[in-house]
């Protein structure tokens, strides 16, 4: 009976696929228990909350990066847009006397707009996404330095910001959940629904899987790309606000290298650099894996330069394993 069950190719295929998909998740869980055994406090509630809080902005940026990568592009400007957004939101409140919520709306609008410019450069400027967003990375960073005059804008006294740094919601199941984590959860769930159930989500996969085919089938390819880069820009701006809240001030050098962390997280989570393959959930698991690795190594007092090396090796190894299992699958 069992042999008949496993002898069936389809079931073999499904089982292998499931194993491959959950591989990163299994590694994540194993790693968590390993760090807990080594340090005795990794799985304590306080530390887990810490891990979540430390990684909220990376996870949010990774969601946007995943959308762009699924559509076959890349967005290198998210770190700079996050920094600019942080500066703009802090500046609007501190210098212009705007309220917290209006400043958030304007900031998200700025992120959306800069993302649209990225999309426009790709769609109408016909620039490769790498070049378009690399330019935006420089421009947005420059605008940040210009706007802040290379000085941090402190928001330590802004009450609303205090809530989005230290406040929490009492959620069913999860209990007291830090406010920034709740924001990330809402973003992830919304975008997952968007990708799974809407025409837009379907079209993102289609554009990444075969742009010309999608165009010939009547998919509004240009509109899909514009919206995708705009969403990525907006999520980067959201991450910038939360990052500003976390470090008490808008630093002109916030978010340097954030784009690479987001790409690493997405790739680790199974999102293809060539578009069309992957999921938001996978990318989140990839992001958490990087976060857990960093936190665990900190608890174990691993030197920071060694940490960077280990992260690099993990990324390369994970992608190699992924590619190997995929090839294995195809042979079947």
């Amino acid at each position: 009976m069992m042999t008949a069950y496993w002898g069936n190719r389809r079931w073999q295929h499904v089982a292998l696929d499931l194993l491959r998909r959950s591989m990163v998740l299994l590694v994540l869980i194993a790693l968590a228990y390993y760090f807990d055994a080594k340090t005795g406090r990794f799985l304590q509630e306080r530390n887990l909350r810490n891990v979540a809080q430390q990684n909220v902005h990376i996870l949010i940026v990774t969601v946007g990066m995943t959308l762009v990568m699924l559509s076959g592009g890349i967005d290198l400007s998210v770190g700079s847009i996050a920094a600019l957004a942080g500066a703009v939101s802090a500046g609007l409140i501190v210098n212009e006397g705007l309220g917290f919520w209006p400043s958030v709306v304007v900031t998200l609008g700025v992120g959306f707009g800069l993302g649209l410019v990225n999309g426009g450069l790709v769609v109408w400027g016909r620039l490769p996404p790498f070049v378009a967003t690399l330019s935006m990375m420089g421009v947005a960073r420059g605008l940040t330095l210009l706007y802040t005059e290379n000085k941090p804008i402190s928001i330590a006294k802004v009450k609303a910001y205090t809530f989005w740094r230290r406040g929490s919601f009492d959620l069913p199941l999860l209990g007291q959940t830090p406010a920034p984590v709740v924001v990330a959860l809402v973003v992830v769930v919304l975008v997952m629904v968007l990708m799974r159930y809407t025409r837009y989500g379907l079209h993102v996969y289609a554009v990444g899987g075969g742009e010309e085919t999608a165009r010939l089938a009547g998919v509004p390819v240009d509109r899909v790309k514009l919206l995708t880069y705009a969403l990525s820009g907006m999520l980067a701006a959201l991450a910038g606000i939360l990052l500003t809240a976390r470090v008490y001030s808008a630093q002109p050098r916030n978010g340097v290298g954030l784009e690479l962390e987001a790409i690493a997280a997405a790739v680790l989570g199974g999102v293809s650099l060539f578009g069309g393959v992957g999921s938001v959930l996978g990318a989140m698991i990839g992001g958490l894996l990087i976060g857990v690795l960093a936190n665990g190594m900190n608890l174990m007092r691993v030197e920071s330069y060694q940490q960077e090396m280990i992260k690099g090796v993990v990324l390369a190894a994970a992608v190699m394993v992924d590619m190997y299992t995929k090839r294995f699958e195809r042979r079947d």
Binding site: L202, Y205, A206, G210, T213, A214, L216, G218, G276
Partner: protein, 279 residues
């Protein structure tokens, strides 16, 4: 006389200094299969890309059911029932059969923010439509990449028929297929014709074109050499026109003029090899 469902008159198309099409005219009626024949670079792809709204003609008129049209995108052509199945660009291999089937014309339920892809209904329709054409898809969830080439073409044809295509343009649907699979695809073409659909079939293979075709338009270097009904054109003549038989004969003559017997043998061998490729 009936109005043709699709007609082009004196269509020209230039790409820079390259003349892709030079005053081509063609018409097409419901329930017929028109084979578009010609060598590489003869302008077949350009012509079908104009018909399907990818390119706009630089000169000439394009009429659909007697009315002049100007398409800005493939969507415009699709909306008038002109569907094209491209050889390599028919489907996205990474996506499921169902999602491919409804790509660009997604079924949705709900309104406003709650509008979403109706997976259940889509799957039922896919199974039914493919069943009607005798294609048994084991699992509508499976990626198109796991289907065979023949199955992919068949799904693409079924999709076009389901979405109410009046004109079906097939770009080399059988070129990458084995004998049996090509037969399956040609059977679907015949089915589509029986349903009153006008089909334009592009192929390099006279053994696929001749049995299914009702009329044959032959293109050469951006011009038409004419349109023939099956009664006017024997299989041998068609093969000769498709293979550039005249040029081969000329080549043979030239070589003969050199009096080089070996070279002549070579030309013959070349010709035979080509013929055997079709078989």
């Amino acid at each position: 006389m009936k109005t043709p469902i699709v007609e082009v008159r004196n269509i020209s198309k230039y790409f820079g200094s390259v003349i892709a099409l030079n005053g081509v005219s063609m018409d097409l009626y419901p329930s017929e299969v028109m084979c578009l024949l010609g060598d590489n670079g003869a302008g077949k792809s350009t012509l079908i890309k104009i018909l399907s709204g990818v390119h706009r003609p630089d000169e000439g008129v394009y009429l659909v059911e007697g009315k002049e049209v100007h398409f800005n995108s493939p969507r415009d052509a699709l909306d008038l029932g002109i569907a094209t199945v491209y050889q390599d660009l028919a489907m996205i291999p990474l996506m499921s059969v169902t999602r491919n089937f409804f790509l660009g014309s997604e079924l949705t339920v709900g309104r406003g923010l709650l509008r979403r892809f109706d997976v259940k209904r889509a799957q039922r329709i896919v199974r039914e439509e493919l069943g009607k054409m005798g294609i048994d898809i084991r699992d509508p969830h499976q990626p198109v990449g796991t289907l065979s080439g023949g199955e992919r073409q068949s799904v693409a044809i079924a999709r076009a028929v389901y979405f109410g295509a009046k004109v079906l343009i097939l770009d080399e649907p059988t070129s990458a297929l084995g004998v049996k699979q090509a037969g399956t695809v040609l059977r679907y073409v015949a089915q589509a014709r029986a349903r009153g659909i006008a089909v334009i079939l592009i192929t390099h293979n006279p053994h696929h074109a001749y049995p299914i075709g009702d009329r044959f338009t032959i293109l050469k270097r951006g011009r038409t050499l004419g349109t023939y009904t099956k009664a006017e054109l024997s299989r041998e003549e068609m093969i000769r026109m498709m293979s550039g038989g005249e040029e081969l004969e000329k080549l043979e003559e030239e070589l003969r003029a050199f009096g080089d017997q070996a070279a002549r043998g070579l030309a013959n061998a070349f010709h035979e090899e080509e013929l055997s490729e079709w078989a």
